[in-house]
């Protein structure tokens, strides 16, 4: 059985990303940052506030820095995958639905895991119900059902 094109292109994107990161790490300098280092730093944080670190610090209020490796890896992989088809002979792995689905499922599992780590299982499940205590405890099962039914959908649709 031949290996699917999007799998090969996904591996190519992974290898390109890893090689770029290794190359960059060997040339890191505080006194004289090169062009590649400055681009990488802009990807992480920039004055416009849309770097990976900026977005995480804006949205996550507890321990945003420790989430950078996962979110950064996903976004750099998606960026490289999207731009790969610009190079002749290559194709974008994200043009096959299984690659974005894999990234989305990983993200879904990761943010739920972080939620469980932060709150504990019971309290995390309770947060899906919103704030039913302000309305009355009898609303809790209803809110819980409504919120939980929407959570898995986020992996597929925004």
């Amino acid at each position: 059985m031949p290996i699917a094109e999007h799998v090969v292109m996904g591996v190519v994107a992974l290898i390109i990303g890893t090689l770029l990161a290794l190359l960059l790490r060997s040339r890191l300098s505080v006194e004289k940052p090169g062009a590649a280092q400055q681009v990488a730093e802009l990807l992480l944080t920039n004055p416009l506030g849309f770097g990976i670190k900026d977005l995480l610090e804006e949205n996550v209020h507890h321990g945003a820095l420790k989430l950078i490796p996962f979110v950064g890896s996903i976004s750099v992989f998606v960026l490289l995958s999207n731009l790969l088809s610009v190079i002749p002979v290559f194709a974008a792995p994200t043009a096959d639905k299984s690659v974005p689905l894999a990234c989305a499922i990983l993200t879904f599992l990761y943010f739920n895991w972080q939620g469980v780590r932060h709150h504990g299982v019971g309290h995390y499940l309770l947060t899906f119900a919103g704030s039913p205590r302000q309305l009355g405890d009898w609303l809790l099962p209803f809110c819980f059902f409504l919120s939980n039914s929407s959570a898995p959908r986020r992996a597929f649709f925004p």
Binding site: N59, V60, H62, V71, V86, C103, Y110, N112, F157
Partner: protein
Amino acid sequence: MTVRLWANIVASDLLYTISSAYFDGHRRGLVKSPVFGVVIAVLPATIPIAFIGLHIFVGIIQAYIFTVLPSVYLGMATADEH
């Protein structure tokens, strides 16, 4: 997340693939007039390039959205007050 990224990249890929093929196909039979010949020769180069530029833009925007959404979901999952 999946459907938006996938649909955008497929659409963007198709746009510049089709534009390249379409203008290349037309060029073969329409080179009798010199002026029209120049136009027909320039178009095949410019239009796919424009769509490739659009594809780069779409690719960067989609990667940005794929960073924003995990950040928002992580923020919601780890927020103390709901």
